[in-house]
Symmetry: C3
Subunit: 242 residues, 3 copies
């Protein structure tokens, strides 16, 4: 399975062209759209979102992760093998949390270049062909590299910020719920918010946080939009107020 995690948007030609490349180079591999609206040009927030959602997928999944404001510039390209899954994308920190949390990890700097490489769409021209190779069982076309060297040591293990706002207006943080106590409350935009198990456990209109279906702390309002009512967007800071 090849899983797309990008900030390309579902509309427009980008995701479609990537799928055309994948269908030609790995015809029988299903391609899944996970996020086409990962935090735009924000590799740091994207890194926490990717790390939380990637581990839900089975072994041998190839995650094509492209949030790449430095495309066409000097940043390198990476293939990473972490706990049985493959990752392909730019070397800009997007794999930082995947690498840091993995029990077993290897990395390669991608040396292969296509015949024709556009300056703005490496997702289509470089990363998709590499993802197709990995999905076909071929080795990464590059040179091994110390995955520790990829680390951004200043990035925290969990990010106390909103990293994604979904279709309903729910605001996902970069905090893993497993690290928070049952009584932990979250403070954001001047409001302190208690924990609940799910939407129907609180009255309509009430703000709460809960463990979302991929293990992140998520701020929501039962039958309301947390983003609008609390003023939350990607990057809004959150604090733990136990």
């Amino acid at each position: 399975m090849i899983v797309l995690f990008t900030d390309f948007g579902l509309e427009g030609p980008y995701t479609g062209q990537i799928k055309a490349v994948l269908h030609q180079a790995a015809p029988f591999v299903p391609v899944i759209d996970l996020f086409a609206d990962a935090p735009t040009c924000n590799a740091r927030a994207a890194a926490y979102l990717l790390a939380a959602y990637a581990v839900w997928f089975p072994a041998a999944t190839v995650l094509l992760a492209v949030v790449d404001p430095g495309v066409g510039g000097p940043r390198a390209s990476l293939a990473v093998a972490a706990d049985g899954r493959w990752y392909v994308g730019p070397d800009n920190g997007i794999f930082e949390l995947v690498i840091r949390r993995a029990a077993a990890v290897q990395a390669w700097e991608i040396a292969w270049r296509p015949e024709r490489l556009s300056s703005s769409f490496h997702g289509r021209d470089l990363f998709a062909p590499v993802a197709a190779r990995l999905a076909r069982g071929e080795p990464p076309p590059g040179v091994p590299r110390d995955p520790v060297a990829a680390r951004h040591p200043d990035w925290p293990d969990d990010l106390a910020e909103i990293v994604y706002v979904d279709h309903y207006g729910n605001a996902i943080t970069g905090l893993r719920t497993a690290l928070l106590s049952e009584e932990a409350r979250l403070t954001t935009m001047g409001r302190t918010i208690g924990r609940a198990r799910t939407f129907s456990d609180v009255p309509v209109g009430t703000a709460f946080w809960y463990e979302n279906s991929n293990g992140l702390a998520e701020i929501a309002i039962n039958q309301g939009r947390a983003d609008r009512e609390l003023g939350l967007a990607v990057g809004s800071p959150v604090a733990i107020a136990t």
Copy 2:
């Protein structure tokens, strides 16, 4: 064929994770996105939209219908067989019109539970695996139940409200055109609107209603946006002014 009818949005991780489950559990069954933007948390409006669009699909289609504000609460889960098609989703009225209009209908309360059931994403954890089983030809994993008992007797046979606004700003009502006379006019937001066959039959900028390609009465403006120009949204009331 498995058809997705949800309010999850196409972006974000929800539809992608459901497709990942379906691809693993029913690998050779095509999955079609019908609506990812069904009326948010509005099972009643969704019920009229689903009933009108489901019957267009061939026999043996499995419709995975998830508009589920009560997820994680006490509401039951249903599998319904109606006129040769399968339906899977929450027991909150979303299948009310499908059941009421079917010539032959059976229902099951889903008793099966996955090993790990999140409190907020039964679409992925419960309904998708059940849909995959039905698509593989297996029986519903549950106990038969009187489909009549599912009915909301206070819901009308046709809904005189806007149930969907499309990409062009056209506003779809819950009224089946087959029940309306050729001369019927619709009144909404203080405007009375006549019928036309299609867009090009009225001058540019003119509001009209017509039988849409799935048999519902739809309010539109030739080369304009009916939602903005007439002030229409999901839930706006419509009256028949013959």
Copy 3:
């Protein structure tokens, strides 16, 4: 491969119903979403976008191109074979630039009609079944027609207008970069903008134009939104200021 180029939007039922038709009529042919947000009801702008993006696809690709404000009216339906690719859609100029730029081109007026043809959704009822036939290797179900007769001689060879605004706010023009000098500057909305190779070659916040990954001149701002900051939308005029 069947490639969808429409103004239907990805959400709502339109693209899904077309895919359901294609899956049934040409089960093993991959279907790629290229644009679901081509310029709404604007066949002229769409024609330049289609011509630039279609040539990226391999020979034998079938492009289903539906921007069709005249649906249900007297406009004819076309199948076009141009430089080894197939095109199916309305005869409203959307294939004008494909035809004009092709080295080898043939056209057919589609004579076939389905048993049930809705008045507003020929994409599903007429064009998709024809696209599936072509993808299966069958001949176009229609009568040959002089492709030159389809031409709109008043449309320019390149369109000095914005024809698409993408997810990032980048504004794509209808100008092929191959025809512009390295020093060419573009003027739009009172601003004159120089050329760069890619985003990371200019400071954050700087407006520039560049050759996009499909050969069109595209106006962008490094880590900003050109549409909002420069006031650009589909149809905004652009001038070449060498």
